[in-house]
Symmetry: C2
Subunit: 217 residues, 2 copies
């Protein structure tokens, strides 16, 4: 354990699943949970669960399982969600508006505190208590509001320009909803949310009458 090995993307994604399952177990007043039960709840294997956790330490008790509350806290620490992150959202259209209202984000520590758009009819309007700012003040306001993460929900055609500005403002983490690959420097983390991709996977599975199935997303 605790060697400085590189942790795979899949392992991190599964930690999110464990965290989610542990939240449910905690609410249902479970004290401990076995790797077997955790695996069952997220459709994984017990060995996978144990191996993933073992990269970060020994959290369980042999013969008993993992302490629910404590493991949840540990995973929160590993994922960096044992704190709040200040988030801004650019593009208050269909998907942007939905995201502002999404309570799960703030529950996980991602607090949307700034909104930006370039549409005069939207600038100045109020969404969930946040007034939409003019995109022209992006850099200044990102900096003033100490934003650490920016969610991009603008049309694909302008996404690269917006991202360039975000990068110039010193932001190091971006979640992009536009269906386009975006260039960012090596020290900036960018992730893409691509819903067509999942529908296309379903389509592929159907036309190929796949026998196997994989879950995730």
């Amino acid at each position: 354990m605790l060697g400085k090995k590189r942790i795979s993307e899949s392992t991190i994604h599964r930690l999110s699943l464990y965290y989610r399952a542990l939240s449910v177990l905690e609410k249902d007043n479970y004290d401990t949970v076995s790797s077997k039960e955790l695996a069952r709840r997220e459709k994984l294997t017990p060995a996978q669960v144990r191996k993933d956790l073992s990269f970060f330490g020994s959290f369980g008790t042999r013969g008993l399982g993992y302490p629910v509350k404590e493991l949840k806290t540990q995973i929160a620490g590993i994922l960096g969600i044992d704190r709040t992150w200040r988030v801004a959202l650019v593009g208050i259209g269909n998907i942007g508006s939905a995201l502002v209202s999404y309570k799960e984000f703030s529950r996980q520590g991602f607090q949307i505190v700034k909104l930006f758009d370039n549409d005069q009819r939207k600038i100045g309007s109020n969404h969930k208590g946040i007034v939409v700012s003019d995109i022209r003040n992006l850099q200044q306001e990102l900096s003033d509001a100490k934003i650490e993460v920016v969610i991009v929900a603008v049309p694909a055609t302008v996404a690269q320009y917006i991202v360039d500005d975000i990068v110039n403002a010193g932001i190091k983490a971006i979640l992009n909803f536009a269906p386009v690959n975006l260039k960012v420097p090596d020290d900036v983390y960018i992730r893409h949310e691509n819903m067509s991709m999942e529908l296309e996977y379903l389509s592929f599975a159907m036309v190929n009458n796949h026998a196997q199935k994989r879950v995730r997303a």
Copy 2:
């Protein structure tokens, strides 16, 4: 080539990326494209592009590259998006409303033709020309409308019940937005869209000051 090997999930996801890049290349009037250029546009390696495509056939010309229009058509065939799929959407709330308005879906052949909710204020209302149906008529109307894919955008607490009904109606493909693992029979394909997961990945990368970076989504 063309052996009946199992194709990996990653390969299918990358086909979606190639398809997207080819759409841009086609619009910009490119006749051919090399694996190198295709790779550059989606931040992959040329070898990866060639290997992925080789699972399905030989589409390129040595010394020249791939014919843009033809490769796009081929990939559409492989993914099963050279046709239209009839899609229903359950849960016309924040995210559901955004999805109805998302033109990219129909452009890829996924036509949302039915909407369902259980809220009396929403039932009967019109979204982009589609009238919201009562969830109580789900099974009958899914069948009557010959729906093949259902998108689930209801609260996590009721998602399993909704999915059970969908499965009983004979649907074999589901795209789920609720942050919960859902049980379905082995012959039903289900994919999960989990936005918190991507934010948590960003958070992990930031607190662990990761040197590496991965893209996808």
